[in-house]
Amino acid sequence: MRAFHRPLLLALTALTFSAAAFAGEIRIGLAEALTGPASQYGVPIRNGFLLAQEEINAKGGIDGNRIVLVEEDERGKKEEAINVYKKLIFQDKVLMVFGPTLSNSMFAAGPIANMARVVAFGTSNTASGITDIGPYIFRSSPMEADVVPVTLKAAMKHLGLHKVGIIYGNDDAFTKSGYDVFRQALQAQHIDVVDTETYSKGDVDFKAQLTKIKAQSPDAIVCPCLSEEGANILIQARALGIKAPFIGGNGFNTPKLLENAKTAAEGTIVGSPWFDGNPSTANQHFIAAYRKKYGADPNQFSAQGYDALFIVAEAIKKIHLTGQTDRDRQALRDALPSVQFAGATGHFAFRPAPQHGGKTGGYDADQPPFVYIVKNGKFALLK
């Protein structure tokens, strides 16, 4: 028995080793929320990544090496993001990690990658301070703090804003930080806030708050909300006879809003890093390929995921992979900041995070946002 087993085992081991060597795999971690409430962002992101992986590998990979995405579900939870990060970095020994989906989770898991000297690359983290974690933290998602002032300026020019009402969810880190950013930008541009109202996660009836806002007759209503609540808020505002247009944050940035709110969304102004009507060939190719693969329309999150893999591919092309995990990880970290790329979201470059007290931070996205307005049930560029 023994004599029979050993050669078999040896053969098997040899087979697996040679298979790995022959394929020339570049293993990259992908930690996104694939289940749970945050999966509405995580799943489109993953879809974008898989599409990019397919396209890169179909063209022979990177210098003949195949990209393999090691997917893990972090469920939109901090603890789970930490676990998944540890698995990908220490067990799977991936070259770098994409994700996690929510800013909250990046605050929790990012430090692990930073300490292990592995690039952690967020494509959907928009909260301020993410890249303060350390020099190994990258993101391709522009901060709300970058997008909102541009949105407001365009809205001011278009509407002649003097006073606005605000409604937002105060029990969610994302909408709360969106609110803070809006409040600062409104202050900087000397726009009066006549009424501020809040709601909680899971609310469906906003008529009490909207009735109060209506009584102040603002020029516009600022709503740094997620699209689920956003659609309800728009519909109920119109039902109450509120005519003022809405100005949204990152959460309004999805075709779902128009699908659910229909005519109630008319006139809404939003800033976004991605514009589906952007006629560039890269973008039109992305939209067509995504529709073909998934039978659904892509959104901003899938576009950012799709672009992110190409951005990293550009960096990998510049380095020489040695097969030594630590050295390759460091080489990638050093090559990434100088990558420039024109993809579905337009021209992209990195920008070093502002330094705080001598600590070196990571890299933020340097990408001008698009501002659009809902016209005839479609997002149109606001000139």
Binding site: G36, D205, S227, E228, N232, K262
Partner: protein, 293 residues
Amino acid sequence: MFAQQVVNAISLGSVYALFALGFTLVFGILGVINLSHGGIFMLGAYAALFLITRFEIPFWTALPLAMLAAGLLGLLIDVLVLRVLRKREAPHLMPMIATIGAAILMTSLSQGFFGSETRRFPLELFDQESFSWGPLTIPVLQAGITALSVLLMLLMIWVLRRTRLGQALRAVSESPKAAALLGIPVERLFHLTSFAAAALGGAAGILIGLSFDAISPFMGQPMLHKGIAAIILGGLGDVRGAVLGGLFLGVAEVFAVTFLSSEYRDALSFGLLFLVLLWRPQGLFGASATRSA
């Protein structure tokens, strides 16, 4: 503005009331806090959504069919979970915890099947119109929901008070053992109650899905919290109490927003709940500490 806020309060309250109706019925008869009610509420909405969008069945046919589906689901939970625990004479906490499990199962399964995004019924299904009356705007659908929850409440009170079935149900709620000795088919009545309560829960999900953009696997949980508050306020197991408790909660929330600030809305309405319980542990409308269906 005040008059409009009163209208808002009633319309919000009747949504809570409608949900609380089935919830309180199960407690009144079975003596179980059925925490899977939120899951049934959600699946009722999905059932109607699928009947209407996939099979293009008109709404007035889809509504009873989806209620039937929700009812059967409630019956299934009763047969598979609650009956087993009843047989073992498990203490009160056990069925409550078992139904939490059922709720989590339903949420996760529907997330897998339907995806986690929020959906709604096709907007063209109903006129999204509101009628104006002076400075007031009243969405037609909301008025319909309010009328329906009052109607269902009256129907249930009538059944419980005036029919032989109701008499039997009240006997069961007094003491299942004594009722069984008197020849009342207790187990069948338990099944019937679970079925009816779940059908009502499904109806609530459908109606809320109609008036709000709110159908998602997670829609049950926040409503469950409000529902628990409503039935405790009204007096556990009391049908009138569930409706009045729901309305009371709606009024408290809306007035907190109107006169104080939306920041303090939940603090105020749940603080009020706390005070009411200190003052009247049996709830605002519960006659005494004993159950009354």
